[in-house]
């Protein structure tokens, strides 16, 4: 994968205002620390699956809903938003799969 092109990540939740924004902040921090150029946006449950993103990050309930119809290449499902290690591990694994 051409790393000069930032990856496009969508942090999604039901309404796009609460948990999505929360995830966006964490995702940005993790990718910045890992030195991975990225554009991180937020979206609600209706918009997220229609977006041409590389990765959608969301909770398990919406991940299941998205898995059938999302345009994104990877869906990362986070069960505990307080667990930064979980978010980091799953997110970076997805980034790796994109490159592979």
């Amino acid at each position: 994968m051409d790393r000069k092109q930032p990856i496009r990540v969508v942090a999604a939740c039901g309404l796009g205002t609460g948990t999505a924004l929360y995830l966006k902040m964490t995702v940005e921090e993790i990718l910045k620390k890992a030195g991975i150029p990225a554009v991180v946006e937020t979206a609600d449950a209706t918009l997220a699956p229609t977006m041409n993103a590389d990765i959608i990050v969301t909770g398990p309930d919406l991940a299941e809903m998205f898995s059938r119809r999302a345009k994104a290449r990877e869906i990362v499902s986070i069960s505990n938003y307080g667990n930064k290690a979980e978010i980091q591990e799953k997110l970076l694994a997805a980034v790796q799969r994109l490159g592979g």
């Binding site: 039901g14 309404l15 924004l21 929360y22 309930d61 809903m65 505990n80 938003y81 307080g82």
Partner: protein
């Protein structure tokens, strides 16, 4: 605005609730009673979960009920409902003991809150265990204050 300022004493402790809907309703009514949201906002908090699933249960034992700014949020603020025996949302993070509801009049007023929430949720187990044992709102407020101070100081787990 800090977490405790945003909370402004809106804490309710319940032994149990009959359903997650009732728990969310009470968290919303605390916001509505202070004029932070319209009744429509409270209805929307519940309907969102019914339609989209229990995704607001974002960490073990913790849910953050909310609706959209345009659903009737007049000002930014929080409420805290503690359900001592826990309530089931049908989530992998069940049972939920803490409902931290919020209202935000736009898409950025609550960013500081989300940041503080992230710090608190990094220690969700300690937060839940400390708060579900509280018997009064004052006691819960005191615990929350201590936890927030320790989190801010980066020495939560001492």
């Amino acid at each position: 605005m800090s977490f405790l300022e945003a909370l402004n004493g809106r804490i309710r402790i319940l032994k149990r609730t009959s359903s997650w809907q009732e728990a969310v309703q009470i968290s919303g009514e605390l916001l509505a009673a202070d004029g932070l949201v319209a009744p429509s906002y409270v209805e929307r908090m519940i309907r969102t979960c019914e339609e989209l699933g229990p995704y607001i249960a974002i960490a073990p034992g913790v849910a953050i009920p909310h609706a959209r700014p345009e659903d009737g949020a007049h000002a930014f603020g929080l409420s805290l409902v503690i359900v001592q025996e826990g309530v089931r949302f049908g989530s992998h993070n069940d049972p939920v003991y803490l409902l931290i509801a919020f209202a935000t009049p736009d898409r950025s007023a609550h960013i500081d809150f989300l940041r503080q929430l992230a710090e608190l949720l990094a220690h969700a187990d300690e937060l839940v265990q400390a708060l579900r044992r509280c018997e009064s709102a004052d006691q819960a407020h005191g615990h929350l204050k201590t936890l927030l101070e320790r989190t801010a100081a980066g020495r939560f787990s001492e």
